[in-house]
């Protein structure tokens, strides 16, 4: 598959060099790439789902390793794996339901049963074996279940059944790929429209004469506020500038262009101003399984101030940002340190860098983290494209989008290989 390899390498390069801005763009491109990978995968006669999963996992691990801090990549990979498992399961249950019906109606006409030719019990057993089994102790200890299973199933059927089975399997394999690709297309569509769905809920939360505080810049927040403005709600916005990237300046410019009353304040003034604010609305980089938020730096300080003054702290996040992992030491493990030149000018401070203590280590360290972790108890509400949720509910949404088998994507190498 030279074509997809080139695409994959190109995307890996972009991820490593941090060329893609924003989790929505990253998620969309990841999904499109995985769609190409799926359409290029060769499907064997049996265990198609495992083949698909294998090829998606192989690419997915490399993508995640390229940028481990961008959690949207891992989320989309796991979503696609979940889609494959679900489609496979629904096809098998449909096939088995079809078989049961045709078994009951043996006397009836077979012409309308073209899609589900009558098969013997052995074929039913083979079909159920080829679907993915839930993890049991045996499957966990097996390293490569696919190749071992292939001769097993093919030996179980007789020749005549083999022919009808293979005809059925090839149509099933085409159907599986087709269904998976359709579902991935839906996923891409969902990722693209998540901001509109979130913005639709703006009117429920913003009343008249409100004062809203935000920090830095988030396109989701921008659309949210503009949707409320369009529905004729009157409110004013305090935007904290969000050093050292100063994205708050950008957001303030956008808001005034659309006619919203905006006040730009410094980050240091957030505690001073928050007593006069009705609500804090911010975007997130990622939402973890415990309801904690990985957010742009400075938001933990804002969340603490909001809690002190009993101001609701609302986080807007599309469902592609929901990560099934629990955060362990997120300030260090899920953080990126940016260049110190954003804080200090090297030219001015070059003389300070010459002084060394006895061991020769530099005396001056500059720390410039990108993200902050906000614990779930400081968040009042999550607004996602599926509606509003409490932080304690986020772990349930994981069951909708992800399968338990996919949470750890790195495979152990087998002792024999």
């Amino acid at each position: 598959m030279p074509d997809t390899q080139a695409l994959v390498n190109d995307f890996l390069n972009k991820l490593k060099k941090r060329k893609i801005e924003g989790s929505q763009a990253t998620a969309k491109q990841t999904a499109e790439l995985l769609r190409s990978v799926i359409s290029q995968t060769r499907m064997p006669y049996t265990n198609q789902a495992s083949a698909l999963i294998h090829s998606v996992k192989a690419v997915g691990e490399r993508l995640i390793a390229a940028n481990p801090v961008e959690l949207a990549v891992g989320n989309v990979v796991r979503r696609v794996l979940h889609i494959i498992r679900e489609e496979d399961l629904s096809l098998t249950t449909a096939a088995m339901a079809g078989l049961n019906l045709s078994a009951e109606s043996d006397d009836e006409d077979d012409t309308d049963r073209d899609n589900h030719p009558a098969l013997s019990a052995a074929a039913i057993a083979a079909a159920s074996r080829s679907t993915l089994r839930p993890p049991s102790l045996q499957t966990l200890l097996e390293d490569v279940p696919d190749s071992a299973a292939v001769p097993h199933t093919s030996s179980s059927g007789g020749d005549s059944e083999g022919k009808s089975k293979s005809a059925d399997k090839s149509s099933r394999s085409r159907k599986l790929k087709h269904d998976v690709i359709e579902a991935v297309n839906e996923l891409i569509q969902d990722i693209s429209t998540c901001r509109e769905l979130i913005a639709e809920q703006a009117v429920e939360h913003i009343h008249q004469n409100e004062v809203i505080l935000t920090l830095g810049s988030s396109r989701t927040v921008l659309e949210f506020l503009c949707a409320a403005k369009e529905k004729k709600r009157s409110f004013r916005v305090f935007v904290a500038e969000g050093a050292p990237r100063y994205q708050g300046h950008l957001l303030a410019k956008e808001l005034v262009t659309r006619g919203l009353q905006t006040t730009l304040i410094t980050d240091s003034a957030v505690f001073a101003m928050i007593s006069r604010v009705n609500m804090v609305i911010v975007g997130a980089h990622a939402v973890m399984a415990n309801g904690g938020v990985i957010a742009p730096v400075g938001l933990n300080m804002v969340a603490l101030a909001a809690q002190k003054h009993a101001v609701p702290f609302v986080v807007l996040a599309g469902s592609h940002k929901l990560c099934p992992l629990y955060p362990h030491h997120p300030e260090v493990l899920l953080n990126e340190l940016r260049s110190p030149s954003e804080l200090l000018d090297f030219g001015e401070f070059s003389d300070c860098l010459d002084f060394g203590s006895g061991i020769g280590a530099p005396l001056l360290h500059v720390v410039n983290p990108t993200f902050d972790y906000v614990p779930p108890k400081l968040v009042s509400l999550f607004i996602t494209d599926t509606g509003g949720h409490n932080p304690s509910y986020m772990y349930r949404l994981i069951a909708d989008y992800y399968s338990a088998d996919d949470l750890v994507l790195e495979r152990r190498t087998a002792s024999g290989n």
């Binding site: 410019k253 905006t262 730009l264 980050d267 006069r276 200090l344 001056l364």
Partner: protein, 324 residues
């Protein structure tokens, strides 16, 4: 007097102590050059002259609390001058009073604060400070001279960026420093063992009035259970009470927010249209009020006191300098 006023305006002179000392020395010069016009009493005329100077200074930049207290001290001294004194004797008395005030209330007070605070620094500590406070800088350098091994985290904020000046002075003396900006305090606070803050004034309900952003630092330190020590001379205490930062504050230059020095890639707010300018307001607050529950202890020249003892000091010791 003009020179001092212009220095305030230009922002060259900043920090409560520096401004107060400069103002008092300017008053000393003005008093030495003063001569009573005929048919006027020294006390009333001098008081009105001082009032004139004060208005000029307010035009340049609103007074800080410490300056307000110093002016009240001076006016009360003038009012208590015995009428039997000749003009030259009155002038020398006033000048020596001003010298004593500066010496006792600022210079010696700082020395006492140094000794108290340095006792609270242990080897292996990581100390955090915000902005540039002259008292905290003295404490850090003093503790370093005593031979204590510690690291300093200097937290800074836009637009003043005062922390960079402090950083340079500390690194030159050989202290190991970490520099960061205010948004990253949750990231660094994990390692910090003590927070030292300066204050412009402390009110009678224990609220600390200081550079904007101090309240955020104290709040995050409190959330991470790190002790917060505020170092402040007693002459800066005031009998006002204040609950939040909005009721009484000083506004700085709004354009200072839209400019980021040294970084051309983030000048988003250049070239705004009129319509945009009409909806956009730039707010540059200079001070904020830190609630007393975030403060562990206040280090003053009267010792280390909890925030609840501030009104006691204001009441008991305020009479003292009026009776010098």
């Amino acid at each position: 007097m003009n020179r001092v006023g212009l220095q305030y305006l230009a922002g060259d002179l900043s920090g409560g102590n520096a401004r107060c000392i400069a103002m008092l020395q300017a008053f000393q010069e003005a008093i030495r050059d003063y001569s009573t016009p005929p048919e006027k009493t020294l006390t009333r005329d001098l008081t009105s002259k001082i009032g004139g100077f004060v208005s000029f200074l307010i035009e340049c930049r609103p007074l800080s609390m410490s300056m307000g207290n110093a002016i009240r001290f001076l006016k009360s001294r003038i009012a208590r001058l015995p009428l039997t004194l000749s003009e030259s004797e009155a002038k020398t008395t006033l000048c020596s009073d001003i010298d004593r005030f500066i010496n006792e209330k600022i210079v010696l007070a700082d020395k006492v604060i140094l000794r108290h605070a340095a006792a609270k620094i242990r080897d292996g500590d990581v100390l955090l400070t915000y902005g540039s406070s002259c008292v905290v800088e003295m404490i850090l350098l003093y503790a370093h001279e005593l031979g204590k091994q510690f690291r300093v985290v200097v937290v800074d904020s836009h637009p003043m960026l005062e922390g960079q000046k402090l950083l340079r002075r500390l690194v030159v003396k050989g202290l190991s420093c970490i520099y960061t900006q205010l948004n990253a305090i949750s990231y660094v606070m994990h390692e910090v063992t003590r927070v030292f803050l300066g204050a412009s004034s402390i009110f009678s309900n224990g609220t600390v009035y200081s550079m904007v952003g101090t309240a955020s630092v104290a709040m995050v330190a409190h959330a991470f259970r790190v002790p917060v020590l505020v170092c402040c001379e007693a002459y800066k205490f005031h009998e006002r009470v204040q609950l939040d930062s909005i009721c009484f504050n000083e506004l700085g230059d709004p354009d200072a927010i839209s400019k980021v020095p040294g970084r051309v890639d983030v000048n988003f707010l250049d070239n705004l249209t009129d319509k945009q300018k009409e909806n956009l307001e730039l707010l540059n607050l200079k001070y904020d009020a830190t609630p007393s529950d975030y403060i562990s202890v206040i280090v003053t020249d009267y010792g280390m006191i909890p925030p609840t003892s501030v009104p006691v000091i204001v009441r008991e010791y305020r009479k003292e300098y009026l009776l010098i």
